[in-house]
Symmetry: C2
Subunit: 211 residues, 2 copies
């Protein structure tokens, strides 16, 4: 327990303490959202005086931005690894949609939504948001381009299609944040939509669970 009568934090190396602080920010963001990453909340979690956090992170807006970036980049790497193992672009795309829309990533969705909102008053965060959106779009674009190259997909503009896909995914996830109860058939419906976008026959992207 971080007892209210904390005596004094053990002295640690700057590298270790800095890691503790950014880890705490990371966890705090996943548990309670980006807006919960405050000087005092991070300090309390590390069980350290607020001034120490300020010492290691002189700019909280920057800490929020880097926390956002690390969380989102980790998610991208995870999905990328999952998808990279699959043989065809069609399977990769289907798996990507299934994974990103299975509702198991509410915590990261909250962070995206908060980042969009907070980015309007935190320029460092806004820059991170742009960077991470670019990275996601690049990953999706890679799958689309591979599909076009193998004649599985059909589109004039893989880059634009990737943006479109990313927007659809983000929007549906944000929606699920509020309307988690409903939204039953999300999987098959977005599959049909993407089939239409990429010139696939109906059912080509059907999630395995539905068959």
């Amino acid at each position: 327990m971080s007892s209210p009568t904390r005596k004094k934090a053990a002295r640690k190396s700057p590298a270790e303490r800095a890691a503790e602080i950014s880890d705490a920010a990371h966890e705090l963001a996943l548990e309670q959202g980006l807006s919960a990453v405050t000087l005092r909340a991070v300090a309390a979690r590390v069980d350290v005086a607020p001034a120490l956090v300020a010492h290691y992170e002189p700019d909280m807006q920057a800490l929020i931005a880097s926390t956002f970036a690390s969380i989102v980049a980790a998610e991208l790497a995870e999905v990328d690894a999952l998808v990279a193992g699959l043989p065809t672009p069609r399977e990769r795309l289907a798996a990507m949609l299934a994974t990103l829309l299975d509702g198991s990533r509410v915590d990261v969705t909250v962070i995206w939504v908060e980042a969009w909102a907070m980015g309007r008053r935190n320029e460092a965060l806004a820059a991170s948001v742009r960077d991470e959106m670019d990275a996601w779009q690049a990953m999706i674009r890679g799958v689309v381009e591979a599909g076009v190259a193998s004649n599985e997909f059909e589109t004039d503009d893989p880059a634009a299609a990737a943006w479109q896909l990313l927007g659809m995914i983000d929007g549906l996830n944000a929606q699920a944040l509020v309307r988690w109860g409903d939204a039953a058939d999300r999987g098959s419906l977005i599959s049909h939509a993407v089939e239409g976008m990429l010139g696939l026959e109906r059912g080509a992207l059907a999630p395995p669970s539905v068959g």
Copy 2:
């Protein structure tokens, strides 16, 4: 000018003053986002003491919620009126997509995004968000159902398709908030996606501007 040396506000009828206050909240939200709707900011805009705003709106969270609701409901009415004049469901759907994705509604998009984020700490707002999402979904569902009835559209579940459409629109608009530069071909791409979703032939929803 709201001079810093304001003497005293003219005495007005409660109805008039209440209207001024909610109007100020409304404008403030459209200009600077929902998070700019604070006790003091509203008071400054009406050129009145903060305590007066608190007198008329004892709960700021409620004022934020009602401000959100009125803005979003007005937008829905506007789009509804625009779409109602068109003869076929296909045209109505195409016009709806074109209007909602033409990038001319950044202010309202900001409000949606902030509402999703703030709703997590403002229960009244969260309820309003759910209500307004339901209202939007109902409107879209009406168009989809009409299209199914006239055999123009094909879907097993118009309600789910409407949720899907709403999510896609919201996501793409939120994306444009950050990435307004790019996203060139949004119109035709989402049209193809929706064609796939509703079993339409390619190009059936093409925006008139593209032909």
